[in-house]
Subunit: 409 residues, 2 copies
Amino acid sequence: MALLVQKYGGTSVGSVERIKAVAQRLLKTRHGGHQLVVVVSAMSGETDRLLSLARGISAHPNGRELDVLLATGEQVTIALLCMALETLGCPARSYLASQVKISTDGTYNKARILSIDSGPIREALQAGKVVVVAGFQGVDVEGNITTLGRGGSDTTAVALAAALKAEECQIYTDVDGVYTTDPKIVPEARRLAQITYEEMLEMASLGAKVLQIRSVEFASKYGVPVRVLSSFAEGEGTLIKPEDDTMEQVLISGVTANRDEAKVTLVGVPDKPGIASAILGPIAQCNIEVDMIVQNIGSDGTTDFTFTVHRNDYQRTMEILKDVASQMNARQIEGDNRIAKISVIGVGMRSHAGIAVQMFGALAAEGINIRMISTSEIKISVVVDEKYLELAVRTLHCAFGLEREPQIS
Amino acid sequence: MALLVQKYGGTSVGSVERIKAVAQRLLKTRHGGHQLVVVVSAMSGETDRLLSLARGISAHPNGRELDVLLATGEQVTIALLCMALETLGCPARSYLASQVKISTDGTYNKARILSIDSGPIREALQAGKVVVVAGFQGVDVEGNITTLGRGGSDTTAVALAAALKAEECQIYTDVDGVYTTDPKIVPEARRLAQITYEEMLEMASLGAKVLQIRSVEFASKYGVPVRVLSSFAEGEGTLIKPEDDTMEQVLISGVTANRDEAKVTLVGVPDKPGIASAILGPIAQCNIEVDMIVQNIGSDGTTDFTFTVHRNDYQRTMEILKDVASQMNARQIEGDNRIAKISVIGVGMRSHAGIAVQMFGALAAEGINIRMISTSEIKISVVVDEKYLELAVRTLHCAFGLEREPQIS
């Protein structure tokens, strides 16, 4: 008999019928002899409905009261799911964050979980009940309601799994797992049976929007095995877990693409110490986040300094750079907001040379020009013209043979 | 500077615009130098929306979870109202029942308030904030959410006023006070400036649906002055308060009418001890409530036994009586579900004889036959044919001169 934490997202509980279906599914798992703690999100559309009420009152609603408002979404779902379970003859009990003391800091709208009192939940489980906990919400030290930000229910589930030392945290969503790449781009994309926390973090931050990044960090910190599954189809999903020996033999786990960035270059900057901070300081002061940074040193004592920002920040970045460029006598500013970032990710590349060569070669063979390169221990990213996005993904997916199940010897 | 508790019902906070209007009104009262504790209901329609979700899950939803669900309605309103106040520059703070410890017993769906921890509210008032409390909800000794039943927000407001020793509990609703009778029947009906708790209880239970009866009982028990006002129009409303000397000089405060009852008579029942309980016992066993009871003793050793029940229980009552009648050899069963109960109410009648004579005389002069009479210390009720309802109300309203302001010497 295992203790499982399961989380159902907004679309999985998006209607009375779907909530009933979730209840049926829980009942089946319970009949398999498992103890169940269930975390639910607000019914899909509900958070937006509440937000539009708030915006009807004020363009910038009070943060504390916004959390009081938004927390009702999950409260509705826990009540309805427990009713559905009780109606099926399955004892169930709902808990708000305040009732299981999901303590957070006092940062309204994006609070961080500090601790959970697992006592009440353990008691209810002992009494044979299915425990249903409102996701996304917490309570600060003064008893104020807080919320964890969009996607926060994932973090609630992982935190509960850590506190209860659950065997697994199962995230039910509308996709059936994590794929080697976007199946809309590559029909041969394959569901990964397993993946490490680090790989998942790289995948998530690069655009595979399956799990909230913070929940993966949390899972990694506490070693909670997380499984992503579909609530609409049967299947094993993808297990996200610590690295082990078998995983190292898989070189590349996935290819991701991201078209949210723009690239800017200061050409002909004097090559002297401190230029990077002189350029990026004014950008950071405007709360613009910088992703990739590349600097090429030329032979004439000047250098070209290139970096990427979110596409929404492109115009403002170009404005800021005008001042910076004239101050430091740069020759020119160049910018491009029609780029794509393509990455290959895999813990296996740590122990294998030659991945970069293979990647650049495959792209060159298709005539795709690489405009920027950035690498980390388990990831290589390149920037290419946006028009090549799909071609680059397909090329790399094929080059690394991701459509085939890995042969683990 | 006074401490006021104000309660706004569902229609008063039925939209974002109305919530903004309530915020404006609160701001004005605050500028008058008053401390404000505000109790709000769910936005009109919201409780029904939540109930229909619950019914979509189950015809008989779990009581505990139903309260978790329904409590979200008021939570939405307190958040939106506080946002609106903050937007106007008025510091405000919302409180759930669990946050101000509105402790109730554990009877889900119709819990009773046991105590309130006024500490957090007093602190917030001291800090210059408008305090906004979710009506209708409570929390039991184990921390479970409870609700007080329909109209429960009135009780929350009165209980808070009692706990805080507020100067007045002001109930804002969609009528501008308590009237001498239904203005739809008598256009000359006059708003009462004041009325006693006892009169209000009689009025409310007889069909003047302005306040939840339990809230009036609560106010009476703790001596909280309650004022009923319109949230859409200016005015003094009606003050409900303990009896005082001036009030005794007003003979009659109001005339009420009720068409919810039906009358049944067992004719020719042997006149011997115990027949009342023999007749009413089986009725009570079926959870049918009996209102008026009249027994006339005839000269032939038999008696006619008449009583009224809710019109919805009429058919079942007649069925039950068939058995009873044959067991006790009654001559006949008669029934009538087209009756109306007309009552005159006033604390002044306690010290004045002749009200009954005046009432019966006025009805007789219009040819209205009285079919049953029942009296209490501050009320006389008669049953007449339903077709006379409006005529009887108009006749009595005029006979007691209720359209005129009382002359208090």
